[in-house]
């Protein structure tokens, strides 16, 4: 499968298939189902400087071809990650990228700085787009200015691959992408979840404890794909595409639209082996279409 290799800045991927933050735990949860070393990378759970209890239950609602979540970045904090989780995952034969969140720029910087010291963490993904936390989170991702600011600050303390994850809840995602590119992001990843809502008509209450939550799954794919294509045409840094990928065909669509790599999120819940299947599917597609390298497919969409 040599032809599946691709780089995201300095990050070398054995293939473009990765798993999305918050949907694949620390990888360990999936060992029983698949071979983690088949993946290009794993984006681990959203990690914050301080531990977070997350939002109250209920945190989930099923929707047509998708789901809403309102987890709210529950995690034990970066120090716990470093001392208790990192040792168990550092030797996985794939790229372990940490997804970093915060409420203030200082939080992001401090969290990134601590992760910078971890040998086997080749990069981080700045989550400036989480719709499920009151302070910060998505607010950073919906203005080009604050998105640029947080990128700039983290860039100073983090020399390895810095990926910034963009929010789809904006009028023009390319503005945000350009702002973070200008401040030194090595790549952008998109999309995070779309802000949505569900109501239980029996008790006339919101289904989620937080009223609104983040929508993901196949339902968002057309929107995500459009944003990837727009962003690919607006920036020079690599784009990592995601949003509703549930098959290798979907992955090819994202790559044609301009994704150098893709992430699979919600669909891991439906088929814990999906990412492996997507790797094989892409490999086959390249062979059948006699394409030498996955690189030739990135952004290869033909427009008359």
């Amino acid at each position: 499968m040599g032809n599946l290799k691709i780089n995201i800045s300095n990050l070398q991927l054995k293939n473009p298939v990765m798993t999305a933050s918050g949907t694949f735990g620390y990888g360990t949860e999936f060992c029983d189902y698949m071979d983690l070393s088949k993946l290009g990378g794993i984006f681990v759970k959203g990690t914050t400087l301080h531990p977070r209890q997350g939002n109250d239950y209920p945190r989930m609602a099923e929707t047509p071809s998708g789901m809403l979540n309102a987890v709210g970045l529950q995690n034990k904090g970066v120090d716990y990650f470093i001392s208790n989780i990192y040792p168990n995952i550092k030797d996985f034969d794939t790229n372990m990228i940490v997804n970093v969140s915060g409420s203030t720029i200082e939080d992001y910087v401090e969290c990134a700085a601590r992760l910078a010291d971890l040998d086997k963490i080749p990069g981080i993904e700045l989550n400036i787009s989480c719709p499920n936390v009151k302070e910060g989170g998505m607010a950073f991702g919906t203005s080009a200015c604050s998105a640029g600011d947080v990128t700039k600050a983290v860039r100073k303390v983090f020399g390895k691959t810095l990926i910034v994850k963009l929010s789809p809840n904006v009028t023009d995602i390319t503005e945000i992408a350009k702002a973070v590119e200008a401040e030194g992001a090595d790549a952008v990843s998109l999309i995070n979840t779309l802000l949505g809502m569900a109501i239980d008509i029996r008790n006339q209450k919101p289904v989620l404890s937080t009223v609104t939550g983040g929508l993901s799954g196949p339902c968002v794919k057309p929107i995500a794909l459009r944003m990837v294509w727009q962003t690919y045409n607006a920036v020079k840094i690599p784009v990592i595409g995601m949003g509703g990928i549930s098959s290798w065909e979907d992955a090819i669509e994202f790559i044609l639209a301009g994704s150098s790599a893709i992430q699979i999120g919600t669909y891991n819940f439906i088929d814990p082996t999906i990412s492996e299947k997507v790797v094989d599917g892409i490999d086959n597609y390249l062979k059948e279409n006699k394409i030498d390298s996955i690189k030739d497919l990135v952004g290869a969409l033909k427009i008359d």
Binding site: G22, Y33, Y57, P64, F269, D271
Partner: protein, 256 residues
Amino acid sequence: MLDFTVKENIQLNQTYFLIKLTPKNGEILTDMEPGQFVEVLVENSPRTFLRRPISVNFVEKDKNLLWLLVQAIGDGTRKMSQYVEGDVVNLLVPLGKGFTISGDAGKKSLLVGGGVGTAPLLYLGYLLKRQGQAPIFLLGARSKSDLTLLNEFEKYGEVFCTTEDGSFGEKGYVTNHSRLNRKDFSMIYTCGPKPMMQAVAKYAKQNKIACEVSLENMMGCGIGTCLCCVEKTSDGHICVCTEGPVFNIEKLTWAI
């Protein structure tokens, strides 16, 4: 993740179905704890996107059969209720942590189930009996027809019933059953609607009896990654799908 073949699907009443499955390619069923569950991939059901959690109802080791007791209440469970022999169903199995079984044959265990919450108690009762115990079942339902598999329960212990309409057993809720007056239990296990479980937990607490409950929080993944199924516990939010679904009531923060 394993494909199973439907061997039998028996309609027990208007909405309850007993589905017996065996691994499609003859794999031997792994050992399962009572109270563990499976995540069913429901195909051909446009409104069912996520898998559906269903308790292990019983394991017939010699026939390599897994039993699921399913109540058809929505699109997903309705589709399951239509399974016919030969259908192939993909499961994640077994998931979660089940009931704790003590090796002490002298223990007197009470198993309290309500509605489809009786499901995990069958296999639990079987195993308790195998340990030498004489478990006591207390099963409640709205009406007689909702009390299913009674002949199965009777194989493993004494069975007491309540129905809300009085059509079978004592009239009322399980927690009103006269058998509870004796308070001679060393352990209580319960599964059913939350108000019922809370009433049972209260009884257990008041009478200083150890008690385990099986929660049915809504699940996104069933394998500990989505963090959607959390229950507030003395250790903070923890995942019902991996740390539970069975919990000792001491661990929960229920206001009882």
